[in-house]
Amino acid sequence: MLSYVIRRCLIMIPTLVVISMIAFGVIDLPPGDYLTSYIVQLESQGAQVTEEQVESLKRRYALDQPLPLRYVNWIWRIIRYQDFGQSWNWNRPVAGLLAERLPFTIAISLTTLIFTYAAAIPIGIYSAVKQYSWGDYLFTTIGFLGLAIPNFLLALVLMFIFYRYFGVSIGGLFSPEYRDAAWSFAKFWDMMSHLWVPIIVIGTAGTAGLIRTMRAVMLDELSKDYVQTARAKGLKEIRVILKHAARVAINPIISLVGWTLPQIISGEAIVAVVLNLPTTGPLLLQALLTQDMYLAGSFIFILSALTVIGTLLSDILLAWIDPRIRYDKEA
């Protein structure tokens, strides 16, 4: 098991390297000398930029070096100094913005992932066991709708309904009185009461996909011989379904974290804009629109890296719960 974990971690490194290269490509993409535009930006804000400052910026970001060296410099500063560069818009280090926004992105993505699985697994089992029942048809229909509704549209519709018929604004993650307050139990509770909207909106498509897969895998498993063996032992049907068939069917579903997680993080980025959440999404969009490239590139790098790490964790979890994989990989 340990050797498997170590090997998986090693395989992840080239992936992270490629992702960082792509992210740096994003930073480097906009045409033009962006030091100049940065200086223009600073000056427009009324700051005086001295020759030394320009030189120090050039040195810090290796701006007069060729592309590969600029990349290496960027990575090195991230690893060595946790320096992700400077955001022009905010005129502060990107690392600070990341520290502010990223926890919410992670919290929302993780709770959505848990919600997605917590909803999809039982519904998938139900739909398979009661195949072609009314409930099955109902969930299948909801599933197809969930896959077809763009999540930002779902967010808009929910906001519209709540605003129009209940007079509540469901955007954001905090009520106004807590927005700038220090963390307290009341603030946490307030966040939880806002969290369900983004979770449902972001999770719907993934849940719909997982329900369909779970249903299909479960139907497959239910027709297998070991289920009949379990019945022949005299087990109750519910135990046959849950302890035997569902337990096996869950494994491929867990392996789908690698497919669900990018979807959730993707969805979070766009839904956050609509729902005005204090996460990375709105900042990323703003950074892209204003060509605040260090901010945008770093966000993309971190979001992708998070996805890759999440997928790795799910692989390890899968190896832990599935003896077949565990032993295959050790052999």
Partner: protein, 338 residues
Amino acid sequence: MANKDLLLSLEDLKTHFFSENGLVKAVDGVTFDIERGESVGVVGESGCGKSVTSLSIMQLIRRPRGDIVGGKILFNPEDGSSIDITKLSPGGRQMRSIRGNQISMIFQEPMTSLNPVYTIGNQIMEAVMLHQRSTKKQAKERAVEMLTKVGIPAPLQRVDEYPHQFSGGMRQRAMIAMALSCDPEFLIADEPTTALDVTIEAQILRLMKDIQQDFGVSIMIITHDLGVIAEMAQRVNVMYTGKIVEQAVTDDIYHNAKHPYTQGLLQSIPTIGRKQRLTPIRGSVPNLLTLPSNVCYFAPRCPHAMEICSKQEPPLYEIDEGHTCKCWLYEGSKEVSA
């Protein structure tokens, strides 16, 4: 016919399936008895209703796709009671206390009939703990004991291994261990060796014979292989399209087969030293959906087919004591009421 030694008797059992394309009479009026300590074979080509018969005894026919629509399955366990299994609810407490406890079953595919994510020991213990209310520790001891009995080497270690670490033959041994772990009175073996290599097959058959003696369990062995029957069973029921066409003791089946279908099955077995060509039965098992009623279903494939065969269904004739045959060729013999 009431007999103290009678363990199980099927009386005119009918199990039908309701498919999209119509009614399938998979088992259509099957009657036979199994005595205590006896091994009975059920033989026939695939699709003749052998497996459905065994699943009916276990009440494992999946509704609403299929159901037992008629007949009785009388089960007389040692405690002296007599239960008609067809009257029990398939998911009910009484049926579940019979399954795996008094009647257990082993299946054809050892590769897939064990759950891949639980250890062998865990799967044996599950049945023991369910039926014998034993502690986890006792159940595990029982599992090790059973693995030892079925000849699995290093059982203390292998009890904690997963099915994929076992070979096919070993898995079937483990299945047998599981089936016998609660000391059942009756064991149904549905093609237990079909998926195995010939050498392994011999070992498993040997094991089953030993076990029958050790445990005093009655066995119903289902197979399409008359060789397996010769090895295992004292009496044989030959099935064709959901009906029993011949019943006899094993010797009679081999040396004095009466039904053309049984004769056909025997002629298609290759035997070393025999000079004759193999004569397979021509044609194949008819589609159960399109069968007409009240005829002999074997007639289209039968070398002795007569005019009456496709006009009226033959009754069951008693050829000899304990030897019956459902064929017009024996018209004039004593008819047995089904």
